[in-house]
């Protein structure tokens, strides 16, 4: 049958990706996440005994509780500042008639393509004890001794905002570009001031973009490892980094897995909230 042959062909096309996802994504991740329910074993990876103690420890042990709380705080701040900086940028890019629009657009994506490491390195050069900011301030006679900029929460948030902002800008551009500029014009002919016009027309209509961007930035920052590790160091511990430490240095796979499950749970609950509120907006 023609349709059956089509189906076979379609399935054939999907076989490579299906096998790859099954054996290298779904099964390993399922296995890794289920580790969280097993007992820790100093000599093996885990003891085949079911337990809830790993999760209990995350919520009870103040050390891990702090990490979770700090992750939420920094991810929240990162999202907030990405939005505050990303919105004007996206607004400008969708409304400008400049010939440079394409190039400016490219400059927003370009940093994303250079990889996390290179950009993080840039911030180290800037913010280190021997870094440019400190040297400049000392040379100007404003401070006597280098300021502690690296290894602070502020530094981590700055770097995260810098690295994740494109993920905020692009959804915003999509939602702002989809708007009919005549709406704004109509509102202003009706006597609305620019500010009111923005607050009552543009902003509510860009809500899907704000939500999408916020979800992306929040989940990506909560799961990041390299920036907290390099810029935050031992003083600023976030969940992604803590999973890394637990698995690679402490070799406590069950606890690392429990932490990862918590992270995934966090991300998916945010995505869930996003879809719910998005549906409400559409209605």
């Amino acid at each position: 049958m023609a349709a059956a042959a089509d189906r076979r062909f379609g399935i054939g096309l999907l076989t490579p990706i299906g096998l790859l996802y099954l054996f290298f994504l779904i099964l390993p991740i399922g296995f890794f996440l289920s580790m969280g329910f097993f007992k820790y074993d100093v000599f093996g990876l885990y003891k085949p005994e079911l337990t809830g103690e790993n999760f209990a420890r995350l919520v009870v042990d103040p050390y891990y509780l702090d990490i979770v709380a700090l992750t939420l705080k920094l991810a929240g701040l990162t999202t907030l500042f990405s939005l505050l900086l990303g919105y004007p940028l996206a607004f400008f890019l969708t409304r400008t008639r400049s010939a440079w629009r394409g190039a400016l657009m490219f400059l927003v994506v370009a940093p994303l393509t250079t990889g996390v490491i290179v950009r993080t390195y840039g911030w180290i050069v800037l913010m280190g004890a021997e870094g440019i900011v400190n040297k400049t301030l000392i040379a100007a006679g404003l401070i006597a001794r280098p300021l502690q900029i690296l290894h602070t929460e502020t530094a981590v948030v700055i770097a995260l905002v810098h690295i994740l902002m494109p993920y905020m800008v692009f959804p915003l551009i999509s939602s702002l570009a989809g708007q009919d500029p005549n709406l704004e014009r109509a509102a202003s002919t009706l006597g609305a001031s620019r500010a009111r016009c923005f607050l009552e027309v543009t902003l509510p209509l860009s809500r899907p973009g704000i939500l999408m961007g916020s979800v992306l930035v929040f989940t990506l920052s909560a799961g990041s490892v390299v920036i907290p590790q390099l810029i935050g160091g031992k003083d600023v511990q976030m969940m992604g980094q803590s999973i890394y430490e637990l698995v690679l240095h402490t070799l406590n796979w069950p606890l690392g897995s429990a932490m990862a499950s918590l992270l995934v749970l966090l991300q998916f609950s945010i995505i869930f909230v996003y879809f719910r509120s998005n549906r409400r907006v559409r209605r």
Binding site: M1, A2, A3, A5
Partner: protein
């Protein structure tokens, strides 16, 4: 009509689109060398039917047979049909030569034979010397011919044409009608043509199947469809028709009935609805150009008053009011008809009346 050997037949072909609608059941046979047109308004199922014939769509139900062989489940490559698409669907990255040669290459025809056949076919469609060009360097009419050449070069058992003229301008469209028909007769190739344009259908076809909401409303030669429509839809879709509510006075049971319209006038009409009996409601159909005008009352005439006269060069259209309702009448633009002003009284002598079942 010449009796032809059946080459393709559709039996109970049905296509269901979820809750979006149904096409069919369609029953259809086409004879060898015949030019058949599937005519109908958009959404009537004509393209769906064509795609089922080509094997691009699978029918939900029914059977397609080609020369007696069941091909319902055969994929297009096993059908040997040449299909010309509405937008021509020329491969934009291949030269005209490669476009036309494509089907031959798929059939593993020898290289030298490919060159010969492609060259020959491009000559036949009147486009020599453009082999090296790309499709977007051609005009719409040229692309149309290339598409035709590409479909014909594989010597298909049936040529399928899906609204191939609708993207051309009016002048070219008229010329291509004749070219395609002439080519079809020269090659003697069985052809199924899909269009929504009645003029195209009539000028080109041996037979026309008029489709309405997924079913064949009527099938026959253009003359049959025009002269003897069986339903209101056919009468209205093909040409212009005056349709007047009437009541059957008497019927001879062999296709002749006497009808009475509002106001009491009676007329004789032919019908294909042999079961129409006295007292039943019917529709009286009169073609606008079959009406004679008289200055005085006579038996079988219908009194009317001129409401409007529209002059359009070679033709004059008269809008008339009768006891049965408004009637349109077309006349050649001769002096006697130019003098008919609104308000004047005339008598109509309708010819070739048809009685249709009341819808």
């Amino acid at each position: 009509m010449i009796a032809r050997e059946t080459i393709l037949s559709l039996e109970g072909i049905t296509k269901r689109y979820g809750d979006a609608g149904v096409v069919g059941p369609v029953d259809l046979t086409i004879g060898k060398g015949e030019f058949l047109t599937l005519l109908g308004p958009s959404g009537c199922g004509k393209t769906t039917t064509l795609q089922i014939i080509a094997g691009l769509l699978e029918p939900t139900d029914g059977r397609v047979s080609l020369s007696g062989r069941d091909i319902t489940d055969a994929p297009p490559p096993q059908r040997d049909m040449g299909l010309v698409f509405q937008n021509y669907a020329l491969f934009p990255h291949k030269t005209i030569f490669d476009n036309v040669a494509f089907g031959l290459r798929m059939r593993k025809v020898a290289r030298t034979e490919i060159v010969d056949r492609v060259t020959e076919m491009l000559r036949i469609v009147g486009l020599p010397d453009i082999e090296r060009r790309l499709p977007d360097q051609l005009s719409g009419g040229q692309r149309q011919r290339v598409a035709l050449a590409r479909a014909l070069v594989i010597r298909p058992t049936i040529l399928l044409l899906d609204e191939p003229l609708s993207n051309l301008d009016a002048m070219l469209r008229k010329r291509m009608r004749h070219e395609i028909r002439e080519l079809q007769q020269r090659l003697g190739i069985t052809t199924i043509f899909v269009t929504h344009d009645q003029d195209e259908a009539f000028e080109m076809s041996d037979r026309v199947a008029l489709l309405d909401r997924g079913r064949i409303a009527q099938i026959g030669t253009p003359e049959e469809l025009y002269d003897a429509p069986t339903t209101r839809f056919v009468a209205e879709f093909i040409g212009d028709a005056n349709l007047i509510d009437a009541e059957v006075v008497s019927a001879d049971g062999r296709g002749l009935v006497r009808l009475r319209i509002a106001g009491g006038s009676e007329m004789l009409a032919r019908t294909s609805a042999l079961d129409l009996g006295p007292g039943q409601g019917a529709l009286l159909m009169i073609r606008p150009e079959r009406i004679e005008l008289a200055d005085a009352a006579a038996p079988g005439t219908l009194p009317a008053r001129v409401r409007q006269r529209v002059f359009s060069g070679e033709r004059i259209t008269l809008e008339l009011d009768t006891s049965g309702g408004p009637i349109t009448c077309t006349k050649p633009s001769l002096p006697q008809y130019r003098q008919l002003d609104p308000g004047m009284q005339v008598w109509l002598q309708p010819g070739d009346c048809r009685a249709l079942r009341a819808s």
